[in-house]
Amino acid sequence: MTGAIARKPNQPPVYLDYQATTPCDPRVVEAMLPWFTEKFGNPASVTHAYGREAEEAVERARAQLASLIHADPREIVFTSGATESNNLAIKGALRFHRQFGKDHVVTLTTEHKCVIESAHAMAREGFRATFLPVEGNGLVDLGKLAAAIDERTAIVSVMAAHNEIGVIQPVAEVGTLCRERGVLFHSDAAQAVGKIPVDVEAMSIDLMSISGHKIYGPKGIGALYVRRRPRARIAPLIDGGGQERGLRSGTLPTPLCVGLGEAAALAQAEMAEEAPRLLALRQRFLDGIKEKLPRAQLNGDPEQRLPGNLNLSFPGIPALELMAACPGLALSTGSACTAAEVEPSFVLRALGISPELAAASLRIGLGRFSTAAEVDYAVDSLAAAVKRLGAAPMTSALAGTT
């Protein structure tokens, strides 16, 4: 049925890991290059022309990023990436608000590892952390979230879109709830920003983490959105020269800031066309898999999910063997940050998926440079490999959700 192309011998594998990282868009690289070469001033060196030129470029980038999420440029704090942003938001909010008797963080069991680790670290320092389970579709139950907030809760952290299963949380509803209860709302939106509309005003977000390399920008740069009105108060994590209004010290890496700004501008300009294109590719992928491998099942909510994400289980086929059997595909079992670990994904386990099935699951990430031909090739490769590996007698089919 498909028009799958044969891969040439030396062709690089089809990249299907866009949630781990995205290639830097050539237009972004182009925008960055002058700032690596002839425009080299330190943006804090306002005493001379090279420094001021760099400062202007950083401020332009700040405005581009702010525009994408409907924020004021002064609400953008550049960091080294979303991991640092998440650390800064959670640790910074708890440390600042302890003086007002607020020492509690509420988050989900399926959050990114750095959110969970930050909350654990604070618990070891004497703060309280609540890890709320999610429903079988990966989404948070608002009633349970409301019940988990108490009078000492300082901050609620709920990821906007999930890095493994792609599910999109009801961010605006969580924001309204937090605003009503007078607690800060932080969202790790590393996977959501630039892919789906994110509006800090409409969604009542107080703190939000953004990553450069998840939106076709450079690695080593990210941002934390910090609301000004009503002000979200946090303590800094990294002290020093007082850059970023004292919230994040360290020389601002001009080329990386410029790259993040450009990536944000491109995402804003192209999202309306790119999102439906990716959604169609995702559907093509899913339809192809369903047709050839009817026992495969989709993890996470089928509707409330990123246009470019699928997470599929192939009952009885260990994911590591499946990946090895598809050398033409660059795939992952889940978060790259924990890729070295042999345990099945804790996220899938939190959805109530058995360890065996979790270990038979792959994350498929599609993105800006994915094509229909690549999707067809990937479906054919996976189907052939599953059939080959599954030729041995298999366990009985598990109850599917799709």
Partner: protein, 372 residues
């Protein structure tokens, strides 16, 4: 013809070396998260490992002692907050990132002499006076005056009293040999953009047998000591710059040019004061006061003439503030408010020094005329 632009602010940021630009440009064209297990990821991982070896070699450390960070400020914060049970003693002339990080677990400030060198006798007294376990942080060379600190002696004294020694060596590599082993360091901070690598990259060297409390938590990157997706192009660029910096090419020529600038400026303005003149200094740094002319006036006048210098560290968030470094050296206010920092680098040529001398001399003549 465009007016000549002379960049003499290399201690704030060193323009990237062509080898580092090439490395970064190539890396930016590659997809792949170094933590991913597929071919793209493995290739990125391999490039990170090559860079790790180069950075380790730059300061004579082992590759697995290198923890990549977002820069010197983060590395200083990681070092000084990474041992919560130790009081942190820093010298009074440390970079603001070390001073600020130290206040969390403050063990006091180690004074410096008038020459700008950390006072070793005072350090010893402080360690004797308080038996609690300590972490001593003294920089390799000062970013404002260029004064090289007796790091090996500090390490000896610290170790004699059971303290750990952290050396902020952001200003050092590429200018002078820096040897983590020889000076017997426990921790050392280095930065990419001060040695011709890209901004946004740095490292903390952590002695192999030491465990540190990480403060950016996340995945298992950097062996659990620093979470976050590795800034792979940044790290690769840092590695390329480290290879170049090992050779310290042009260091002697830079020293000659700096000495010439110092001689000519002093001859122009007999009342000029050179800070750190009586101490061993980095070959590229000159901190000079033109009496009676505020630093801000000087940097603005030089900027208008196309000569780019600074009034101290760039990091003070754009403010021209009093230098805590010169203050700690006991400089009278009338002098420290009139100091500027001139820092040279790989690309500096004799004509740049002529340009500086001409512009500074013109300002000096104007102020003399208006004072007369």
């Amino acid at each position: 013809m465009a007016p000549r632009a002379t960049y003499l602010d290399w201690n704030a940021n060193a323009p990237m070396h062509p080898a580092a630009i090439d490395a970064v440009s190539e890396a930016l064209g590659l997809a792949g998260n170094p933590s991913s297990v597929h071919g793209y990821g493995r290739r990125a991982r391999q490039a990170v490992n090559v860079a790790r070896e180069a950075v380790a070699r730059l300061v004579n450390a082992a590759p697995d002692e290198v923890i990549f960070t977002s820069g010197g400020t983060e590395a200083n914060n990681l070092a000084l907050r990474g041992f919560p049970r130790r009081r942190v003693m820093v010298s009074a002339i440390e970079h603001e990132s070390a001073l600020a990080a130290a206040t969390a677990v403050d063990g006091g400030r180690i004074p410096v002499t008038r020459a700008g060198i950390v006072d070793l006798a005072a350090l010893e007294e402080m360690l004797v006076a308080d038996a609690r376990p300590a972490l001593v942080s003294v920089m390799f060379a000062n970013n404002e005056t260029g004064v090289v600190q007796p790091a090996a002696e500090v390490a000896q004294i610290a170790h004699r009293h059971g303290a750990l020694f952290h050396c902020d060596a952001v200003q050092g590599p590429g200018k002078l040999p820096v040897d983590f082993r020889a000076l017997d360091g426990d921790l050392m901070t280095i930065s990419s953009h001060k040695i011709g690598g890209p901004m946004g990259s740095g490292a903390l060297i952590l002695r192999g047998d030491l465990a540190i409390e990480p403060f950016v938590k996340g995945g298992s990157q950097e062996r659990g000591r620093r979470g976050g997706t590795e800034n792979f192009p940044g790290i690769v660029g840092f590695g390329a710059a480290a290879l170049v910096a090992c050779a310290m090419e042009g260091s002697a020529e830079i020293a000659t040019l700096r000495d010439e600038a110092e001689r000519r400026l002093s001859a122009l303005a007999p009342g000029a004061v050179i800070f750190g003149h009586d101490a061993p200094r980095l070959p590229n740094t000159l901190c000079i006061a033109m009496p009676g002319v505020p630093s801000a006036t000087q940097v603005i006048a030089l900027d208008l003439a196309g000569v780019m210098v600074s009034a101290g560290a760039a990091c003070s968030a754009g403010k021209v503030t009093r230098s805590h470094v010169l203050e700690a050296m006991g400089a009278p206010p009338a002098m420290l408010e009139c100091a500027i920092r001139i820092s040279l680098g790989r690309g500096t040529v004799a004509a740049d020094i002529d340009h500086l001398v001409e512009a500074w001399g013109a300002l000096y003549a104007r102020t003399r005329a208006s004072a007369a």
